[in-house]
């Protein structure tokens, strides 16, 4: 990626800036009083100020403005932070190098202050920022800068916001990430579907396929460089792999079977799980992408689909209607008897293992409504995060704090949209997309 070529501590600037900087040290590990622990108890967002980053030359002003707004948007979008608007700020930051007058920011009750500077030269962009703990009157972590090309400016804004989020919450961040999804247009009975990719916040949509073939349920590889999806390009559902970097597209040869679908990568990206249907019966298979050899993991007369790996690659979770209704099961990849983990009222499907390993997100249907929910991997602690006419297809943010999913509205004019919700059930938000959208798959934090 040339958008963000380097990510460096402002070590070189340290000496020149003197007392402004604390001594060198780990950027993220510094502990201070400015700390937001994400629990279900967080209901009051942390107030922060992010005065427009200083434009270091004339042609940087527009960039400084829009870049600052993306940083703010990322943070506010989490529901964990509240921006103190610039109109309420009593001080101005006109120089990135001058000492911050913390009293001015205490006076407006800003717990955190983000200062930054932007330099545009030709198509080159440099962004610097510092995070301040206003009440402690000191920086939280060190200043950082990012260099890249101007067309990658949103990624740089996301990287700044990622740093702020990580330092304050102690969590891994997720703003500099992308989502692959199905773009939908046209009426319900003749819907056109294309694969598309966008930034996590809905910006920069690009289309990966045309709409000549029905496509379903794309899934990012763990490193974000490949996408598995199901397409009707040959007439019946088959699995394809798109290499995002070299942009080659190939069919995954799953062997005999009427259709192959529901693919998902292993955590190391070397294998895939998928469903294969033969004579009306659907079971789960594991394929080594290198050798192309497949191994059947389930063999029941019921429907087994929606497989997802545990992050350590040792187990899978999947849905099966072997009990009469769709329920969730876990089994070792090496084989063995599947253990049912869902026991509540209703039908459970589309399980996805959290990147943290501790929870499984799923779709639940009960009493004519659809829910996105999470439970622990032993089935305990079930929590429904949403409720609507039709919610499905949950996917985890790279840090396991947020779940994105698709929601369809009822009736002949019904359309699908993407939403995100915090794992606590708070902060339900629609993700803006240029068309209808379904089946999101959230990729990793970008390098």
């Amino acid at each position: 990626m040339r958008h963000v070529q380097r990510l460096t501590l402002l070590a070189g600037a340290l000496a020149a800036l003197g007392t402004l900087f604390a001594g060198p040290g780990p950027a993220l590990a510094q502990s201070g009083p400015l700390k937001l622990t994400i629990t279900e108890g967080v209901v009051e967002p942390m107030p922060f100020a992010a005065p427009t980053f200083v434009a270091e030359n004339g042609q940087s002003a527009d960039m400084a403005n829009k870049l600052t707004r993306v940083v703010v948007s990322d943070l506010v979008g989490t529901g964990l932070f509240r921006e103190i608007p610039q109109s309420a700020q009593i001080a101005k930051i006109t120089s990135f190098t001058s000492p911050v007058q913390y009293a001015d920011w205490k006076a407006i009750n800003a717990a955190a202050l983000i200062t930054g500077a932007v330099t545009v030269q030709g198509n080159q962009l440099n962004v610097k920022f510092r995070l301040h703990d206003v009440f402690a009157g000191q920086e939280l972590g060190q200043g950082m800068q990012f260099n890249g090309t101007t067309d990658g400016w949103r990624r740089m804004a996301h990287k700044v916001a990622d740093q702020v989020y990580a330092r304050i919450t102690g969590e891994k961040p997720y703003f500099d990430s992308r989502v692959v999804f199905v773009s939908e247009t046209g009426p319900k009975d003749k819907r056109l579907k294309r694969l598309a990719i966008m930034d996590y916040d809905g910006a920069n949509t690009q289309y990966l396929t045309d709409s000549s073939s029905l496509v379903l349920a794309p899934r990012f590889s763990p490193s974000g460089n490949r996408v598995l999806f199901t397409s009707y390009a040959t007439g019946s559902p088959r699995i394809y792999m798109l290499d995002v970097g070299s942009v080659s597209l190939r069919e995954i040869s799953t062997g005999a079977g009427d259709m192959a679908f529901s693919p998902r990568f292993s955590p190391d990206g070397n294998s895939i799980l998928y469903s294969l249907t033969q004579g009306g019966n659907t079971d789960i298979y594991l394929m080594n992408l290198g050798s192309g050899t497949s191994q059947r993991l389930t063999s029941a007369s019921s429907i087994e689909t929606g497989p997802s790996f545990s992050p350590d690659g040792s187990k899978i979770v999947f849905e099966s209607d072997r009990s009469g209704t769709q329920q969730l099961y876990i089994m070792p990849v090496s084989g063995g008897e599947p253990q049912r983990i869902s026991f509540g009222e209703g039908r459970y499907s589309t399980p996805v293992w959290s990147p943290r390993g501790d929870m499984i997100a799923f779709t639940k249907q009960t009493k004519g409504r659809f829910h996105i929910g999470v439970m622990r991997t032993d089935g305990s602690g079930e929590r429904l995060l949403t409720a609507s006419f039709l919610d499905e297809s949950p996917t985890w943010s790279p840090n396991g704090r947020v779940v994105m999913f698709s929601r369809e509205t009822p009736g002949a004019s019904g359309t699908a949209s993407l939403y995100s919700v915090d794992v606590t059930g708070r902060n339900l938000q629609r993700v803006p997309t240029p068309t209808g959208a379904s089946d999101p798959s959230w990729g990793p934090l970008q390098k």
Partner: protein, 180 residues
């Protein structure tokens, strides 16, 4: 990579896909009213309506098969079992297919929207297989019959209540022209 380069690459993908699949498109859509993008595979109603050869009064015509014999059966929620009404229709299909051995058929299984996408794909496959099995048991050679599932992707009735769902939970036997 730069955005410009990426845009070019996307084009490359599209070009590749078009090359790979161009042939199959023409074949599958041909003759039976290609339905345009995404529906080009004779998905249910549109494909069926595209058949114009022969007339309703000609018992060897596809139109007769569709409308007089009945080209589809319906299912109850989450089920793939064939009720007496469905069996009666399929008995008619067996007679027709056995009397018109030049025709082959693709059985398309569908689900209503009250289910998750991938499960409904599997459910549609189960329904199509139930119909195929019944036709084969009635003497239709299995190599004349293909199955495909569209899951909930191709509803024919668009409202979101049982009156529409009942129509969408279906398996449709779509004739293929002799030789196809």
């Amino acid at each position: 990579m730069t955005y410009l380069a990426k845009a070019a690459l996307v084009f490359a993908v599209l070009g590749l896909a078009a090359c790979t699949n161009g042939d199959r498109f023409g074949k599958l859509g041909g003759g039976y009213g290609a339905n345009g993008a995404n529906g080009a595979y004779g998905a249910n109603g549109y494909g069926a309506n595209g058949i114009t050869s022969g007339g309703l009064n000609d018992p060897t015509s596809p139109a007769y098969f569709q409308q007089t014999v009945g080209d589809r059966v319906h299912f109850i929620v989450d089920q793939s079992s064939l009720n007496p009404e469905a069996r009666q229709i399929l008995d008619g299909q067996i007679r027709w297919l056995n009397a018109n051995p030049d025709f082959n058929a693709t059985i398309e299984g569908h689900a209503d929207e009250q289910g998750t996408r991938e499960y409904n794909l599997a459910l549609g496959a189960r329904r199509a297989a139930a119909v195929k099995d019944y036709l084969v048991a009635g003497g239709v050679r299995p190599n004349r019959l293909q199955t495909i599932s569209y899951g909930k992707e191709r509803p024919i009735a668009l409202c979101s209540d049982e009156s529409c769902y009942a129509q969408n939970r279906r398996a449709v036997t779509v004739l293929r022209a002799p030789g196809m």
